[in-house]
């Protein structure tokens, strides 16, 4: 008996010992950081940080929604069965959002912080990044920090190789601005002169510095910004350096800056690239036209189904171009500022009937046939939007002017229209430098209004529109007043995700405008930190009023 037991015990012990495992885990489809460092290195990790920048700015449901829909040039009416989307679009435009009522707050808080994370990862010693790579990574991180700070008034910051289970410290107020400025100043010497517009480059870094200096007064006191002369001089100096470098100029057609081959535009200082026809190398720029065009525009072409009939603009904005006569369809109409659009554009109008810019009135297909909506009404975009932004009437698909600033990519038999467009997402553009310098001139201790007007008129001349005879910063009673720098910024920079920042800097964000009454509620100057993010990091502080 004993022998059996011993034998059995032996066999069992042997069997168990033989099959014992250490329980280590192989990742199989993913790499460890060590493998990444050894096999791929910093260049691949840096590329990831670059990629992160595209989508938050390409898709109008992202940063765009927080910078434009909440401002005076963009709104999305709820069209009966469409665009209710939990009421978020109305809440954004009417400034009555709640902390978690708009999912974009959390999505963008995460997406922008992911940029800072991925950029910081390049700095991890394991990856042995070069000085140049580190400088590029810190520049990308500065873009994200700037944007987070702009939207929420604070940003969390982790050093490289930080333990992700620890709550990072948070920058706010002036120290946040100074931190980003110091980051940019630190990296500029390390950036290569030969870097292209899709890479961190010296001009882009200086551009971001200009934004920081120009907004500095607003960033530390959004309710009543004051502008120091020192900051304004910085803006002017940095801006003049870019202007005088001779590297940049104006495109002959405003919309060439946004067309599928805009990567060659002389106006672009920094952009996020997209490769036409390649799914992986695309950040969703096609949503810029999908979101606004009517369902029946460009319908039934090569598997396409038109647009989403959502994002719209208002007549007041259209009128801020100084429109005195109705738009015609004449291709050579020179009466009106060309930036308003509506003119024949080769590659777009001949493909779809779409005339880039602000789409008003009757819409046509590429053969010149009048389009209709789904109820067989003529597709005439109508500026009269329901006061509560809830369309229920027979014209519910027609209300609101539309904007096609990005020229749809119809290449690849129209397929690129649907998601593999080649338009680069424009982030920093030369005319903004000119406008920022002009603004700083007007805000400096001894305002140089004439110099500012001359700069602005040079821009207007390049655009093929008439000179302004006088210009003030803004009209406190009317956000759309045409002869203001604020309106000029609107005419040039519309739908480029800067409008809210502008309005706050000009002290106009809480004022009334089309389909939005004066809120006066200062809490709206910053967005709420999403509850989930706040709970995750106790160092974050909920913004006042939420």
């Amino acid at each position: 008996m004993n022998k059996y037991i011993k034998m059995a015990a032996g066999v069992v012990t042997l069997a168990i010992v033989a099959s014992c495992t250490k329980l280590d885990q192989n990742l199989n489809s993913t790499l460890t950081s060590q493998q990444t460092a050894n096999a791929l290195g910093a260049a691949f990790v840096l590329q990831n940080a670059y990629n992160d920048v595209g989508n938050p700015y390409s898709d109008p449901g992202n940063v765009f929604a927080l910078e434009e829909v909440t401002a005076d040039e963009c709104l999305i009416p709820t069209r009966a069965g469409d665009w209710d989307d939990n009421g978020k679009w109305r809440a954004l435009h009417q400034h009555n959002w709640s902390v978690d009522g708009v999912d974009i707050f959390l999505n963008m808080f995460n997406a922008l912080n992911k940029i800072t994370f991925d950029a910081t990862n390049v700095l991890t010693p394991d990856f042995k990044a070069t000085k140049e790579q580190i400088a590029e990574a810190r520049f990308i991180r500065a873009i994200a920090l700037y944007q987070i700070f702009d939207l929420w008034g604070q940003f969390p910051f982790r050093p490289p190789a930080d333990n992700l289970l620890n709550a990072p410290k948070v920058y706010r107020g002036d120290s946040a601005v100074q931190f980003i400025i110091s980051e940019l100043n630190a990296v500029i010497p390390d950036l290569s002169a030969g870097n292209t517009i899709s890479q961190a480059n010296v001009d882009a870094a200086n551009f971001l510095l200009m934004r920081l200096y120009l907004n500095h007064g607003a960033f530390v006191n959004r309710q009543s910004p004051t502008f120091s002369d020192a900051d304004m001089q910085k803006v002017i100096t940095l801006g003049n350096a870019i202007i005088n470098s001779g590297k940049y100029g104006y495109s002959s057609n405003f919309f060439d800056n946004f067309n599928p081959s805009n990567s060659t535009s002389k106006e672009i200082i920094f952009a996020s690239p997209n490769t036409a026809g390649v799914v992986t190398n695309n950040t969703g720029i096609h949503n810029m036209w999908w979101s606004t065009s009517h369902y029946n525009q460009y319908f039934s072409h090569y598997g396409s189904q038109g647009g989403w009939n959502g994002f719209s603009t208002v007549a007041d904005f259209y009128n801020s171009f100084g429109v005195t006569v109705p738009m015609t369809r004449t291709p050579n109409d020179t009466l009106i500022d060309p930036r308003i659009g509506g003119r024949y554009y080769k590659g777009a109008t001949d493909q779809s009937g779409i005339r880039p810019g602000i789409l008003i009135g009757q819409q046509y297909d590429e053969k010149g046939n009048k389009l209709t909506d789904r109820k067989n009404n003529l597709l005439i975009f109508d500026p009269n939007i329901a006061p509560d932004l809830k369309e229920n009437g027979a014209n519910l698909e027609l209300t609101g002017y539309r904007i096609a600033k990005y020229v749809p990519d119809f290449s690849n038999n129209g397929k690129n229209y649907n998601g593999t467009a080649g338009n680069w997402c424009v982030l920093f553009r030369y005319p903004d430098v000119v406008l920022m310098v002009a603004e700083a001139m007007m805000r400096q201790a001894a305002p140089n209004n004439a110099g500012a007007l001359a700069l602005v008129n040079s821009l207007r001349a390049a655009r093929g529109t008439t000179a302004m005879t006088s210009m003030i910063l803004n009209d406190a009673t009317n956000v759309y007043a045409p002869n203001t720098l604020l309106a000029e910024r609107g005419r040039e920079m519309y739908w480029e995700s800067v409008r809210r920042t502008d309005l706050i800097r000009f002290g106009m964000f809480l004022k009334p405008w089309a389909y939005k009454s004066a809120s006066g509620d200062v809490k709206n100057l910053l967005y709420p930190i999403p509850t989930a993010s706040l709970a995750a990091n106790p160092n974050l502080k909920q913004n006042d009023g939420y």
Binding site: T30, L40, K114, L164
Partner: protein, 994 residues
């Protein structure tokens, strides 16, 4: 007592009288006698009949009877509830003294506990055993359907009407706040992975306007005819032996083994058809549509009258053939079975074909000291799937096309299918049926072999090795000629998707059984188990094909056979999950004193490579005790209780269903030739822990005429595996943590079985169970987690449910609907509020068997109450606004004040009461018995109806619905969104043995 007895008598006599005409006997004699039980106690209420006639009497309170019988009568039959019926030859006797044996009740049934078996009456835990004879009948494509309504506290919801679709099983409430939380399945001692090798498909990728498609059932490869019994381990005492995978309960499936008496052949066949939708969806027919067009001055009347829902459905014949051959002797037994079946779906071009072979055997060697058991299952299934995805956007899915199609517009034209009028017309559902195909082929091999060595008396060593290998491929084709299908029209789309799933189990167990004294029995099990599983999936997808872009010139060559023809290949996706390995040590001891006092203790240590570096091993103890009161001397003579036992148990079970690799830092390759970190490492990550207590009462009354149990349980799940918001800046928005919240489930379960009448010619059995569950999340200090995506146009970003403190999991959280304003537009609150619970509070199951002679009728019904369903279909597919666009919509909306121009918004308006009673199955069987001189045995024929009707106020297709609408993997519950509808089916079958 008296009532039951007279009821029984009444029923039996009435039936006898109705069904048979009275015969008169010319000559009679009187027989008297007394009936007593095996203890000598007189038994009342025993039916005494003359064999082969209706003449009968019943014993009185003192057990005596008196009966006039024809002089030709030779045999009397004695039968009664709780007793084995007995034939007694009369001969010359006029006075009989009969002793009846008590029926062996289910208490001596052997139930399967983890790593062993036990007699039901010795089990200290809460465990339900369902034998094959009690399984649901009718159309059954996977084993879990055999159990619906049979087990108190177990909710089984089929996720889709597609044959073979996955089910959501909740045992004792909602136990977790993650997706994929079904119980652990154990088949013949081998734990399954829970996933399947059927490739899943997310049509939402690659620019198509569709979402993920429903998953398939992991138990498809088990032939329902091969199952001997299924044991459901509900509490910690029974499930803790499965450690870190036992917290959702364990379903133990035991397949049939051969008997040792000669060679036998069993054949089961059935043929069936779907006879239509179990419940109609309230969209308008052509005449209603026309009438409403006129009323609203709309001109969308195209002149025809069609019923698209009918057009997309089919009544093809389903067939089922199963053959089992078994035989053997004392030293060796085998059983071989084959199943060939073709189940046709309700929707055209949907079906599940199955071919399964099973070879099982037991052989003994060396004076029976060594036993070799094996069981090999090889299976092949082919699924034909249609375009019915879970989260389809504005582009919809096949059901939305059928629901929305203008019923006055013909679906076909002379040359093909009618086209969409504009971008918003519904896509032609028949064109989609024709031009879309999605076929999944899966091969599965499940094999296990074990050797048991009897070392000394009472001590056995067992080694088990099992492998479960599945490989699946799925070819999806959407032909470019289909009109008005975004991403498909004019270009075509195809995807080939392959999956391989392999798991292996090695188990060593030592089992020791002894009697310390005559009164104290002892049993112990100790074991070691190693389990590993690998999963990989590869997808290629392409668009821009040159063929089949035009209906007239389409070819029969599928895109998937022709991928090089495509102009655009989507980025290839290859995923190989990190291997999961679990290494466990476990043990159990049982003490049994005098068959009155029982004590069971178990312990399992589970190490898993999924756990973080700081937490490699988890420990899961349990204890259970039972007092078998009916074996106490003072109860021995009780006439009321034939069985009475009290149980109590405590224990900890675990859950480790989170993705492998979640605790580690990971870098993934992304766009533009880059790589980035994608996971927040959490070295502290560990299992989720459920501490539960259970108090139970098992009872048998009146010699087992009534039996059942009553249980109270309370479970507290802590260290919840939870996808928390990452602390930004972070590489991802969420990461896995163990949240120190408490998810509480408590409830009461009651079951009763009754043998109401048990006579030779007539019997009536009845089973009923009811369970109440209460579910609440407490001490949840996180930000509330909104989940349950509402899908469709105009509701993006809307979520219907919330996971938050002091609420049931998945509480509905919606903006309140406040009627209509004077313009007929809905009034909806600005902010959401708590709106009710999607988790059913009360579950009921009912089954009854009526047998008269050779005819028997089995009816199974079940019910769930106290919960709400979100009708997302009505919200975004069939809302009245669609009518204004020329689409069909819900007829009921026209009875309200709502205008056709009203908006679409997610709100409490679409919450509907889910309460239902469903007649799941009714089967009428005629048992012909042995024919052809006994050469053909047990011949029976049956006709069976499945999902015959449902009583509910819910307006959708089926109140038993759970379309997966998870948000970032936070689960949803009871959301309905254009699901595959539930069919009503009828089948006919024939069973025999040789």
């Amino acid at each position: 007592m008296t009532i039951q007895r007279s009821l029984a008598r009444w029923v039996s006599f009435t039936l006898l009288c109705v069904l048979f005409t009275q015969n008169a006997f010319s000559q009679t004699k009187t027989i008297t006698g007394k009936v007593s039980d095996d203890k000598g106690t007189p038994v009342a209420g025993i039916s005494v009949t003359v064999k082969g006639s209706k003449t009968g009497a019943s014993t009185s309170a003192d057990g005596t009877f008196s009966l006039n019988v024809p002089s030709t009568a030779t045999t009397l039959v004695f039968s009664g509830v709780g007793y084995t019926s007995q034939d007694v030859t009369i001969g010359d006797q006029t006075s009989l003294s009969v002793t009846l044996a008590t029926t062996t009740s289910n208490l001596n049934e052997v139930v399967v506990v983890g790593y062993g078996t036990a007699r039901k009456k010795d089990v200290t835990g809460s465990l339900v055993s369902v034998q094959s004879k009690d399984f649901n009948q009718g159309v059954v494509t996977s084993p879990d359907q055999l159990l619906t309504g049979k087990v108190s506290g177990m909710e089984i919801t089929t996720n889709s009407g597609q044959p073979g679709a996955a089910t959501t099983i909740k045992i004792r409430g909602n136990n977790s706040i993650r997706v994929n939380n079904n119980p652990l399945y154990v088949i013949d001692g081998v734990p399954l992975d829970g996933r399947t090798a059927r490739p899943s498909l997310n049509l939402g990728q690659n620019g198509l306007d569709f979402g993920p498609t429903p998953e398939t059932n992991p138990l498809l490869y088990i032939n329902p005819n091969d199952i001997q019994q299924i044991d459901i381990l509900k509490d910690a005492s029974s499930a803790a032996i499965y450690g870190s995978r036992g917290a959702n309960g364990v379903i133990v499936i035991t397949t049939k083994k051969s008997s040792s008496s000669g060679t036998k052949l069993e054949m089961n066949t059935s043929w069936g058809v779907n006879i239509g939708y179990m419940k109609k969806y309230p969209v308008m027919d052509a005449s209603e549509f026309r009438a409403n067009l006129a009323k609203n001055n709309l001109k969308n009347d195209s002149g025809a009258s069609v019923d698209p829902l009918k057009e997309i459905s089919q009544h093809k014949l389903s067939q089922n053939y199963s053959l089992a051959l078994s035989g053997g002797n004392d030293n060796g037994k085998f059983r071989v079975s084959f199943l060939g079946s073709s189940n046709q779906g309700l929707i055209k071009k949907t079906a599940l074909d199955k071919y399964l072979g099973n070879f099982a055997g037991t052989y003994k060697f060396l004076d029976k000291r060594i036993t070799i058991d094996f069981n090999l299952i090889a299976g092949h299934t082919t699924e034909n799937i249609q375009l019915l995805s879970n989260t389809a956007g504005a582009g919809g899915n096949l059901m939305s096309y059928a629901l929305n199609w203008n019923p006055t517009k013909a679906l076909r034209t002379g040359k093909g299918y009618s086209l969409a009028a504009n971008s918003f017309s519904a896509t032609n559902p028949l064109a989609v049926l024709d031009g879309f195909s999605d076929v999944a082929d899966v091969n599965v091999f499940l094999g296990n072999i074990s050797a048991t060595v009897n070392i000394i008396k009472g001590l056995d060593y067992k080694f088990l090795f099992a492998i479960n290998h599945g490989s699946g491929s799925r070819n999806t084709n959407a032909e470019g000629w289909i009109d008005n299908l975004k991403g498909v029209s004019g270009q075509g789309f195809a995807a080939i998707n392959t999956t391989i799933l392999t798991s292996q189990t090695f188990t060593h167990t030592l089992n020791y059984r002894t009697n310390f004294t005559d009164d104290l029995k002892f049993e112990a099990v100790a074991g070691y188990e190693y389990w590993k599983t690998d999963f990989d999936n590869n997808t290629i997808a392409a668009t821009g094909f040159n063929t089949n872009l035009d209906y007239a010139t389409r070819t029969n060559v599928q895109y998937t056979d022709f991928m090089q023809n495509a102009k655009t290949l989507f980025p290839m996706s290859t995923i190989r999950d990190p291997r999961t390995e679990i290494q466990s040590y476990f043990g159990r001891v049982n003490f049994n004193l005098l068959d009155k006092y029982y004590l069971t203790a178990t312990m399992r240590a589970d190490g898993s490579n999924k756990f973080g570096a700081n937490n490699k091993y988890g420990y899961f103890p349990s204890v259970g005790a039972k007092w078998n009161i009916s074996n106490e001397d003072f109860m021995k003579n009780s006439n009321l209780f034939s069985n009475l036992g009290l149980r109590a148990s405590w224990g900890i079970t675990g859950n480790q269903e989170f993705p492998a690799g979640a605790s580690l830092e990971q870098f993934s390759s992304t766009a533009f030739n880059s790589i980035g970190q994608t996971n927040v490492a959490n070295p502290d990550l560990k299992w989720e822990k459920t501490t539960s207590i259970n108090f139970g009462l098992d009872y048998g009354l009146l010699r087992g005429r009534f039996y059942g149990s009553l249980d109270y349980y309370r479970k507290n799940t802590t260290d919840l595996l939870f996808q928390s918001t990452a602390i930004q800046p972070a590489p991802a928005s969420i990461y896995f943590i163990n949240l120190p919240a408490h998810l509480i489930n408590y409830g009461i379960e009651f079951s009763v079985g009754a043998a109401i009448v048990q006579q030779n010619d007539f019997s009536w059995d009845f089973g009923f169970n009811i369970a109440y569950n209460h579910n609440k999340l407490t001490k949840f200090n996180q930000a509330p987690i909104p989940t349950a995506q509402v899908s469709g146009q105009g509701v993006s970003g809307a979520l219907a449910q919330i996971i938050t403190n002091n609420q049931p999991v998945n509480e509905f959280y919606l903006k309140k609907f406040g009627g209509y304003d004077q313009n007929g537009n809905q009034i909806i609150a600005d902010t959401p509020s708590f709106c009710g619970d999607p988790n059913p509070h009360v579950l009921m199951g009912l089954s009854t068997t009526l047998r008269y002679k050779k005819l028997s009728l089995v009816i199974n019904a079940n019910s769930a109450t106290g919960y709400l369903i979100y009708n997302n279909t009505h919200n975004t597919i069939t809302n009245i606004g669609q009518f204004a666009k020329g689409l069909n919509s819900d007829a009921n909306d026209f009875k309200t004040k709502e205008s056709t121009g009203d908006g679409v918004a997610a709100s409490s308006r679409y919450l509907e009461n889910g309460n239902f009673v469903k007649l799941r199955n009714a089967t009428l069987t005629y048992m012909i018995g042995d024919v052809a001189g006994g050469k053909v045995k047990n011949l029976s024929v049956f006709v069976s109806g499945t999902n015959l009707f449902v009583i509910t106020k819910f307006t959708g297709f089926d109140p038993e619905v759970n379309v997966d609408k998870n948000n970032n993997n936070y689960p949803s519950r009871n959301m309905e969104y254009i699901p595959y509808p539930t069919p009503r089916a009828i089948s006919f079958g024939l069973n025999l043995g040789l």
